[in-house]
Point group: C2
Amino acid sequence: MFRNARTTLTAAAALCAASGAAMADEALRADALEWFEPIPMNPPALENNVVTDARVELGKQLFFDPRLSRSGVFSCNSCHNVGMGGVDALETSIGHGWQKGPRNSPTVYNAVFNIAQFWDGRAEDLAEQAKGPVQAGVEMASTPERVVTTLESMDGYVEGFAQAFPAEEEPISFENMARAIEAFEATLITPNSRFDQFLQGDDGALDEQEKRGLAAFMATGCASCHAGVNLGGQAYYPFGVVEKPGASVLPVGDRGRFQVTETAGDDYVFRAAPLRNIAITAPYFHSGTVWELEEAVAIMGVSQLGAELNEQQIADITAFLETLTGQIPDIEYPILPDRSAETPLPDEM
Amino acid sequence: MFRNARTTLTAAAALCAASGAAMADEALRADALEWFEPIPMNPPALENNVVTDARVELGKQLFFDPRLSRSGVFSCNSCHNVGMGGVDALETSIGHGWQKGPRNSPTVYNAVFNIAQFWDGRAEDLAEQAKGPVQAGVEMASTPERVVTTLESMDGYVEGFAQAFPAEEEPISFENMARAIEAFEATLITPNSRFDQFLQGDDGALDEQEKRGLAAFMATGCASCHAGVNLGGQAYYPFGVVEKPGASVLPVGDRGRFQVTETAGDDYVFRAAPLRNIAITAPYFHSGTVWELEEAVAIMGVSQLGAELNEQQIADITAFLETLTGQIPDIEYPILPDRSAETPLPDEM
């Protein structure tokens, strides 16, 4: 009887504890839903672009085609590698002539959810963004004219653009190249991370440390800038709100959004980095000089929050950030159109 | 009545013509089967390597992983692009530090059927080949030690090698990297070209010009060197059996197989290029200086056959060569293992 009674009491206590934990999880989830939202299972609709299968398929070919670069060496995928979290895992990218770019390559995954593109937000959408690297001298070093000549020279692209832009008289254009790439990139979303499972009601999707990390992420103020579906990517903030990090992390020569707006208030201002898949997209910051996530979290604490996060908080927040790795979509490697005698030859000079 | 009789006669004549054509096709096929064989639908077994699913999947990750290069920029796929006929469509490849390699990148498709690898055959199989570019200073510029350290640093590779080489105590090694890549590359075959359909009995797979081209390919002597399943890749011949082409096509500094054997007879000797998918793997020759297939055919006529092929023959043979484009396999882009704090950082210097 006694043993039975004790068993019953223990069971009741366990039940209470479980119910207490469930209530705590519910409260944590309610808090989190004030700040964040899960990535949808399907790509979002785009302003100014219709995401048809034909446009996505064409965009995928363009994304993988190194002939969009002058040298024939680099494709979009070179720096936004879909097999490596959508980045190149370099401090800053290597481009035409082995030049080193000025900023770390941001991930293409979930980029569609950012308010604007590039670290300084200078492109309002992915189509606008796609035109940048193709022309940048340190990246793909091509020109709109060369790109259009290249695309027009290949029957496969002539057909592909006609199918992707059926209503247009001249389907092949630099603008439509960008729109097709945008359509493909809009499909590059990574739903169903453990964090999203938690947001959607699965208490067991995060462990205790990860839940502490999520709570700390909100309590210490990280979520003030890193909010929304992408936990960042929604607004601009000075790097070093409280204290500027050293020049190795924040090089003096790169004044961020100031270079776009030429407004004093935008000096060293950058778009808050989106944190989706952050655990698999090292190195960190626009300078790409920090390779470990713990270190990046610690630097953020000092420079943005003015609070030295303790070791436990850093470990917890890092553990939470690791739950932001989502489900990478299946991507079949595209067969690229054959060249013709009219296709411009690669030029590595 | 008259009209009916004429109709009957015409039908009979057509039948005779058709049957004559069928007989001619049968004879052409019989000739062709003396020289060539179709690509099998399934990858061949390998000597010294067991092609398991785990090994192929690991090999695919390695093939696409730029972290096998010192800079983190180049993967096997950079120069053997599976979406572009297995080549990079450059004269010669661009590698580490923007250096230009000495020879045109051969296609990885159907390479498993070649007698040996590289233009000079210095690697006896694909595993041996795979070790070359990884270490070549002008290509990926890494070392076996750096590669092994890189692979051991990532849990995904530790698991992948354990599954791919389950019987071995130390599954991760430079040797096993090469064997896994070989296993993947052995799956990169392109069966079912129109030429193979013809070889297998479908008279309608080739049109009249293509059939004339096939006949000319055998009659003029091309097939003497370009035979077997790969129409080449089986033996070594001097480039310029009859007349050396100009230095732009045959640079004097590259003495071919002589550099491997140091035998006078091997001066300017190269492995006969395999011609599978030749229409989609420009530019041509080890120097990569010829971009049009017709021109390559014409050069071969003069330098190897000592016969100036007439325009019709060149057009016919070129049309035939275009029927050698096979069915490219479906390749899902692999998700590459995550780095760890122990992973060597990219080094572009």
